[in-house]
């Protein structure tokens, strides 16, 4: 087990390094002089000199990367050129908001997906199956930003039941689990949960339908085991895969929340990313990408490590 852990960690490190390399290169993708990408246009000469030195713009590429990486490892992701605030602090506080949204959406999506998928798989071929399949196809086909817009129209504009934007009266600094704040969470979380729901329903349905038809289950049934017990067996078999997919979905939601956050003005990393892009704020852009992707890598690792715990038969190469 320890050897497996070690192997996975060893494998993850170069990926993480690669992620940092890609984030670093983003500055150089932007057309024009990279200096314009990191310095405010009004900056006086000495500020420009400092930036040149800090980013090593007059040194060769590998040196520049090393300088950037060292500072990043110390938690210094530079300063946003639009506001002058530290990128690290901005990204982390926004990440908190997105994590909240993604977690709630993931729980809702995975939860509903499991229920629907299990029902469909159990009664494969029946009308429940057909409905669940339809729901899941809709879930993966609907453009979620459009769904968010539609939900806003129905619940906010027409019915006036729910607010259309923001993260509550106090802004992101003061999240409370009360009606005011929760009402702001409902629409964006519902919109976002549609994606994992679609995928999980399909996955669970396939797994359950498979497992239910396998010989050992038929044998169990023949021996008179109750439905509940059969269900427990099915669940245990399906769990590792569902966990893997669910874990990855949280990562996708964290990374892919920009569209929903833009529709609802939810102050998370996605919204911040949008702002960074239109303000041409490359350090902020880099910081967000880096944090989100490293989070995703860490999540992948966790999922990979948790799987053998649930099912000793699984050993990924």
């Amino acid at each position: 087990m320890l050897a497996y852990l070690f192997k996975r960690l060893l494998y993850t490190l170069p990926i993480a390094l690669g992620v940092t390399l890609v984030s670093f290169t983003l500055v150089y993708l932007a057309p024009g002089d990279p200096l314009n990408a990191i310095a405010p246009a009004d900056a006086p000469a000495d500020v420009i000199e400092t930036l040149k030195a800090t980013y090593g713009l007059d040194r060769p590429m590998p040196v520049r990367y090393a300088l950037w990486l060292t500072r990043a490892l110390h938690g210094d992701l530079g300063a946003s050129i639009a506001t002058g605030r530290s990128v690290a602090s901005e990204v982390l506080s926004a990440a908190g908001n997105t994590l909240l949204l993604a977690a709630v959406a993931a729980v809702a999506g995975v939860g509903i997906g499991c229920v629907l998928g299990a029902l469909a798989g159990y009664h494969a071929g029946g009308w429940v199956d057909r409905i669940a399949s339809a729901v899941s196809v809709v879930g993966v086909s609907v453009p979620h930003y459009w769904l968010g817009l539609v939900l806003t129209i129905v619940f906010s504009v027409k019915l006036g039941w729910l607010p259309a934007m923001g993260a509550g009266p106090g802004g992101s600094g003061e999240w409370l689990w009360d009606a005011d704040h929760l009402s702001c969470l409902i629409l964006p979380a519902a919109t976002l949960s549609v994606i994992p729901m679609g995928i999980i329903t399909r996955t669970v349905r396939a797994l359950v339908a498979d497992t239910v038809n396998q010989e050992f289950v038929v044998a169990l049934r023949a021996r008179g085991l109750s439905s509940a017990a059969v269900f427990r067996h099915v669940a245990k078999n399906a769990a590792p895969t569902v966990l893997a997919v669910a874990g990855l979905q949280v990562g996708y939601l964290m990374g892919g929340s920009i569209l929903v956050e833009t529709v609802f003005a939810w102050p998370g990393t996605g919204f911040l990313l949008n702002t960074a892009i239109f303000q041409r704020d490359i350090p902020l852009l880099q910081g967000i990408i880096l944090v989100l992707c490293l989070f995703f890598v860490a999540l992948n690792l966790l999922v990979d490590l948790a799987q053998p715990l649930l099912d000793p038969r699984i050993r990924r190469a």
């Binding site: 609907v142 930003y145 129209i153 396939a206 990374g255 990408i289 990924r316």
Partner: protein, 296 residues
């Protein structure tokens, strides 16, 4: 998920393509009502988009302030008019051209590029394989939406930049599938036999490998089209893809946002088009998959 995909894809017997095979697939498909409806719908949308310059009732760029935001069913504007008074039906048809293009092209490019790289990696094996796969693993670490937005954001708005961004997002996924299948096929007995009998690598690839690889990769790629469509329109929705005054469903969704108070149905139309097209692609892909006897 891709690993699971590959595993299940390979559950089907890897056989050399038979000429009658595709006929069989087509016949199976024709017996599937959902697939038939989806295919017809798609055909309608594609044709409308393709022949828009001849079929469309109005000029997609002609604005008219007095005829702004007319409701659906108005005289001269079957589906109403947008925020600048341009005919919605025309804009939706023209929009289809760009949206479909932005949806299909990246997948096409990724299919060609990804299959090539994947087959090479899978066939050659060894450290070349390691190097290639580990490089793409890095890109795999990025959630698709994030990678697309980051690249498009860094490159700047514009259609070509979005196409580049989306292609770069899909290539790693296709490479993975192609490499996996190639590795499996390479180990099969008759491939070994072909190698021992002196056949060169290129002819082996052409005769034995490609036939087996193209099927699963194609199936995987069809699943990507709807994702690409939604992602491409999403980029335009954010202001990163197609620029005004071009018509594109995602961009239209963005510019019609303020109309949700006056005419919400109108404002939701472009998104509905994305939804319908995307769903049609998915259902058709599902149908093709089950017709080809490959389950996902």
């Amino acid at each position: 998920m891709p690993t699971a995909v590959v595993a299940l894809v390979l559950a089907s017997p890897a056989a050399a393509p038979r000429r009658g095979y595709w006929h069989g697939v087509a016949r199976q498909l024709a017996r599937n009502p959902v697939a038939v409806v989806s295919a017809s719908l798609l055909l309608l949308i594609v044709l409308a988009a393709l022949f828009a310059p001849w079929l469309a009732p109005a000029d997609p760029y002609k604005a008219s302030m007095i005829r702004r935001l007319l409701p659906i069913g108005s005289v001269g504007h079957l589906l109403g008019s947008d925020e600048l008074g341009r005919d919605m039906l025309t804009r939706l048809m023209y929009g289809g051209r760009l949206s479909l293009l932005m949806g299909v092209l990246p997948v096409l490019f990724a299919f060609v590029i990804g299959t090539s790289i994947g087959v090479i990696a899978g066939y050659v094996g060894g450290w070349v394989n390691m190097a290639i796969m580990r490089t793409f693993d890095v890109f795999y670490a990025f959630p698709s939406v994030l990678l697309a937005v980051a690249i498009a954001g860094a490159l700047g708005p514009g259609m070509s930049n979005s196409l580049i961004a989306l292609t770069l997002v899909f290539v790693p996924q296709v490479v993975r599938v192609a490499e996996s299948v190639t590795t499996q096929v390479r180990q099969l007995d008759y491939v070994d036999a072909a190698r021992l009998s002196g056949a060169g690598p290129l002819s082996i690839i052409r005769v034995h490998v490609l036939g087996n690889v193209l099927g699963p990769v194609f199936v995987y790629a069809t699943g990507l089209v709807s994702v690409s469509l939604i992602l491409a329109s999403g980029l335009s929705f954010l202001g990163l893809g197609v620029k005004p005054p071009e018509a594109e469903w995602g961009l239209m969704l963005n510019t019609l946002r303020s109309a949700i108070y006056i005419n919400p149905t109108l404002a939701a139309l472009p998104g509905a088009m994305i939804f319908v097209t995307s769903m049609a692609f998915n259902l058709l892909a599902d149908g093709v998959r089950s017709a080809m006897d490959i389950r996902l």
